[in-house]
């Protein structure tokens, strides 16, 4: 079989910020009792990071955990390891009521980086980008679709949406990053 493909391999746009397809990421939608120590241990074992607090996001490299709701965590691992991670979680939590569903291919991931990256997001999402910080994840709306984002570095954002909307997301981010559209507030 051929190589697994992201929705928009190598898509790039340069304007007041740099927008780029981030390729495939391993993502597991985990639902369960987040306060259970067994669950915490299992999640740490597959991701290598501590359980984040409410709306928190602990990411190192391609792995990490992001708080999605009181009973949902997004587990991130390298794309090729997602299926194995699901297996590992299932084994560790056998007998418990939980769900670990591989949703890696249901997502598209972009990075938005540069001095005006905050403004690009701020044009599209109803979120106070003046106070947004590393370590937070925000699930919200970007233009007309549901999305989530966090910061993976200073002035650098990771944006996640559904795969089917990848082209739309790339296009709206590019429009928002068009040359000459600096707002100049951050």
């Amino acid at each position: 079989m051929s190589e697994a493909r992201s929705a928009l391999p190598n898509a790039k746009f340069d304007g007041i910020a740099h927008v780029e397809d981030a390729g495939l990421r391993g993502m597991i939608s985990f639902r369960g009792d987040l306060s259970a120590s067994k669950v915490k241990a299992a999640l740490k074992a597959v991701s290598g990071v501590e359980m984040p607090s409410q709306r928190g996001c602990n990411v190192t490299g391609e792995s990490g955990l992001a708080w999605m709701s009181p009973d949902e965590i997004l587990v991130m691992v390298p794309h090729a390891e997602a299926a194995a991670a699901v297996e590992k979680l299932s084994k560790a939590l056998k007998g418990q009521h939980f769900m670990a569903e591989n949703v890696s291919d249901a997502r598209a991931v972009f990075t938005v980086a540069g001095k005006h990256a905050r403004e690009v997001i701020g044009k599209l999402a109803p979120v106070d980008m003046g106070t947004f910080q590393t370590g937070e994840i925000r699930r919200t709306r970007i233009a007309q679709v549901a999305a989530a984002f966090w910061m993976h570095g200073p002035d650098a954002f990771t944006v996640v949406c559904f795969r089917s909307g990848a082209q739309y997301m790339f296009d709206v981010l590019s429009v928002a990053a068009q040359s000459g559209s600096e707002v100049g507030v951050y």
């Binding site: 409410q54 709306r55 009181p70 699930r139 919200t140």
Partner: protein
């Protein structure tokens, strides 16, 4: 353009992150119920001028349903609370009593 606070993820978001779900605390009537009860459950609405208890979902967010106490005349929001309850909690009732003395809504007051 309302601002609502989701009691699950703590986000204070604008209305476009949410989806209104109509009147709160409806009692479901299933097979065996009377026609009148069933009609009331599906169609009859308080539609009050003033304090209203209603359901919202944080659809562009954490996905959770929750309840909101709101005034339909001023759009003042008194508070939001868990979806997993059959009546507004005491804190919400206290706020309502303080801000709208004598309030009542269906059989709550």
């Amino acid at each position: 353009m309302l601002i609502l606070e989701c009691p699950y993820c703590g986000v204070k978001g604008e209305e476009t992150e949410f989806h209104g779900g109509g009147e709160a605390h409806l009692k479901r009537f299933g097979p065996g119920s009377s026609d009148a009860d069933f009609e009331t459950y599906l169609f009859m609405r308080e539609n009050p001028k003033g304090v209203h208890l209603e359901r919202w979902r944080h659809v562009n967010g954490c996905g959770k349903w929750f309840h909101v106490a709101r005034c339909t005349m001023t759009l003042e929001v008194f508070g939001s609370y868990s979806a997993q309850t059959l009546e507004p909690p005491k804190e919400i009732k206290d706020i309502l009593s303080a801000k709208r003395p004598g309030w009542s809504w269906r059989n709550f007051s």
